[in-house]
Amino acid sequence: MPRASRSRILTVWWKHWSVVAAEPTGGTRGGRPAIVLAANRVVACSPSASAVGVTVGQRRRVAQQRCPEAVLLDHDTDRDARQFEPVVRAVNELTPRLEVVEPGWLCVEARGPSRYYGGDERLGERIIATIGQVMGDDDLTGLGIGIADGRFASAVAARLAVTTPTRTMVIPPRASAAFLAPQPVAWLQETGEVDAELVSLFARLGLSTLGAVAELARVDVADRFGLPGQLAHRLASGDDERPSAATEPPQQRRAERIFDDPVEQLQPLVFVGKQLAGELIADLVRSGLVCTRFVVTAETEHGERSERMWFRARGLSAGAMVERVRWQLTGWMAQPGALSAGVVLLRLDADEVGHDGGDQLRLWGGLSAADERAVRTVARLAGIAGEESVRVPAWQGGRLPGDRYRWVTATTADLTDADDTASRLRPGLGGAQKSRLDAPPAGPWPGVLPAPSPSLVLDAAPATESGALLAVVADEHGRPVAVGGRGELSAPPVTLTIASGPAQAIIGWAGPWPLDERWWDESRRRRLARFQVVTADGAAYLVAVERQQWRVLASYA
C-alpha cells in the first residue's frame, strides 16, 4: 500500500546510551563492564556485560550474578540528555529538520539532506564522521544509522545497523514493507511503542513476523484489536505511524512565557515549562487531539537560542513534555559558553498533532498524572527519610495477619511498571471481591480466618517474639486458659488482660483455630491456637496462644 508522499527518515540510534553517557563521569573507561540500573532493573549495559548475558530488564541480582565485576550506575535521564546534546548539535549542523525521541535516539527528515550530500549512504557516512569527531573515534560501539521510508522502518534499520561494519543500513525507497516482513513482531514493542500485551498476543496467535501481521486484512485487525491493533498493523506494513493528514496542525498551538526578569536557574524554568505544558495539553485535550511532536524554544537576553524538536510516537503527556524540556535545558546549560545571560523566553509549540485515539489511556500501566506525581514523591521521600523508610506492600502469603502482606522498600520495586506491581500484589486483583465462607478460600492458604480481616495488625514481625503484645486470657478463677494438643480448652475464657492493662470481661469468643506451621522445620515451626475475642467495651481482638503464652496478634479496630 504505497502512498504518494512517503517520508524518508534517518534514525540515529545509540544502543545503551545510558552507559555511554555515564562513562565520562563513572570513570569506567578502564574497560570494566558497566550496568545502568533504574528501580533495580537493568536499563542499559556495556557490550562486555551483554556478552556474558546481562540483558535489559533483568533484575539487579541476576545481572550481578552474570557479571560480578561490573560497575553499577544509577540511571540519570538528565545526564543522558546532557551528554547527548553534543551529538544532537553535531547532527543539527548537517541537517535542519531534526527531532529527538529520547537521549540516544534522534530522527532526521532525510530527503533533502541526502540529495544535498549525494545519496543516503553518503549522508550516513557524513553523520557518522561528524559524531565520531564529537565523541572521539574509538568509541562508536553501539551507534547505528538507519535510513528508510517511515519512522518505524528506519528505527528498526538503525538497530540492526549497530552490528554491521559500516554502522549504516539503507532501505531503498518503497522497500520498507519487504524489509520489515521477515522481522520478528517484538520490534513493534521495542521501537513502535505498541503494547507489550498485544505483541505477545500476536506471537501466541502464531503471527511471529511483521509480515504475518501485515498480511491480515486491515479491517479484521481493527475489528479484533481496535485502535492499538490498527496502529500495529500500519507499522508492520511499513506505513508510517500517523496518517499524513495529521502532520500539519490546523492552527497554531503554542504556549509561551516571557520573563521580565531573566531566569538563570534550571528549576524555575522547568517549573514554568510544567505550567506551559499543562496549558498546551489542556488546549489539545479540549479539541480531542494528542501531540506527537513539539518544539521547545528558549532564548536568553543576549539572543542565544536553543530550539529543539521532540517526538514520541505514542503522544506526549504533560509529564513527558516537562521531562523533555528539562533534558533540553540541562543540555543547553551544560554546554560551555552557550549562555551569557538569563533566559527571557520559553515557548512550547505543538508541531504535529493527531486525533487522540485513546491509546494513551490504558487500564493498566498507563500512568495518570496522580501516579507520576506519587512516584516522584516516593523518590523524594526516600531522599528525606531514607530508602528503608518508604515502603510499599507486597504479597507474601500466610495464615496470620502479619504474614499475609509484608512491606518492601519502595526503591526496589518499579511503581511505574504495571506487571511488576501486579506480581508484587498477586492476589490483589480479585481481592476486593473475596468473600466469606460461602466462597472457596482465595489462594492456597487453608486455615486462614475468613474476612473481615483485622484492621490493626500487631503481629507484623512474624517468627520473632517481639511482634505481638503479651496478653493473658484467664478463666473465671483467674487462671490462664490452656489449650491442649487436640484443641480442647482447660476452661472457657472470661477475661482478657493486655500487657499491663486492666482485665476486661470477654462477652464473646470464637475458636480455637489451631495452626501448626512448618512442622518439618524444627527452628521455624510455629504451633498456636487462634481465638477471636470480643470484650465488654465492644472491641474485638485476634489473640493466640503459643507455648502457653497468650498474645494479641491483631485488633479489629
Partner: protein, 211 residues
C-alpha cells in the same frame, strides 16, 4: 482504623494515592477488603525506629472530610519516639502532600501550632486530605468522626466467627453545624460499609467521602 480505611476507599479507588505516615500497624488485608487498591498504597516511617507496636484498643475512631481526623480514642498512643518529634513528622507530611491526595497518620503529641499551621496550609494548597488517627492535636479538623458503641456480630461463646460490626458514628467539627449520629455496619456482613439504622439526621455516605 476501619473508619479511616472506609474514608480512603472512594478516593483511592478512583486513582488517588494513599500514604500511611508512621502507622506501622495498618492492616493491609483489611484495607484491601474495604476496596483500597494496594498498588497505590505507600508507607512512610519517620526514621524507622525499629518496630513499634501500640495497644490496639481501638473501637472509637473519629474521622473527617477535607481535613479529617479519625481517632482511635481509646488507644493509649505508644507512638514511635521519632514521630513525637514534630519537625520530622511535619517535614515528611508536607513532602508527602506533593504526591499523595490522601494521607493517614497520627498527629504527634508534641506538635507545635506553627508547624501544624504550615502543614495545614500545604495540605490545602495541594487539595489533599489528612486523616488523623486519634487526637487531631493543634489541627482544626473540618470533620471529626467518632465511632463508638461497637457491637460485633457473629461470635457466641466459643462458636462462629466475626462477621460484621455495628458502630454508632458521630460527626462533629468545624464544617458540621450540628453533631450527627448514625448507626453503621463497619464492616457489614458483605465486607462493605452500610447504613444500619439512620436514627438522627442522616448523613449520606457520599457526603462523608466528599473532599
Amino acid at each position: 482504623m476501619s473508619l479511616a480505611m472506609s474514608l480512603a476507599v472512594a478516593a483511592t479507588a478512583s486513582g488517588s494515592w494513599l500514604a500511611i505516615v508512621g502507622v506501622s500497624t495498618f492492616g493491609l488485608e483489611a484495607a484491601e477488603e474495604f476496596g483500597i487498591p494496594l498498588e497505590r498504597v505507600v508507607s512512610v516511617e519517620p526514621g524507622r525506629p525499629g518496630r513499634t507496636t501500640e495497644p490496639g484498643t481501638g473501637g472509637r475512631p473519629r474521622r473527617s472530610g477535607v481535613n479529617s481526623r479519625v481517632g482511635t480514642a481509646a488507644a493509649p498512643a505508644a507512638s514511635p519516639a521519632a514521630l513525637n518529634n514534630g519537625e520530622v513528622w511535619a517535614e515528611l507530611v508536607a513532602a508527602t502532600f506533593d504526591g499523595f491526595e490522601v494521607l493517614v497518620t497520627k498527629v504527634p503529641q508534641r506538635l507545635n501550632a506553627v508547624l501544624a499551621r504550615r502543614v495545614q496550609a500545604r495540605m490545602q494548597a495541594r487539595e489533599a486530605v489528612l486523616i488523623a488517627l486519634g487526637s487531631p492535636g493543634p489541627f482544626s479538623a473540618d470533620v471529626e468522626l467518632h465511632a463508638g458503641d461497637p457491637h460485633w456480630e457473629g461470635v457466641a461463646a466459643g462458636a462462629g466467627y466475626l462477621r460484621g460490626r455495628r458502630v454508632a458514628v458521630t460527626s462533629s467539627g468545624r464544617r458540621v453545624p450540628r453533631p450527627r449520629r448514625m448507626s453503621l455496619w463497619l464492616p457489614g456482613d458483605d465486607g462493605t460499609v452500610a447504613v444500619a439504622e439512620p436514627d438522627t439526621e442522616v448523613v449520606p455516605l457520599a457526603h462523608q467521602h466528599a473532599g
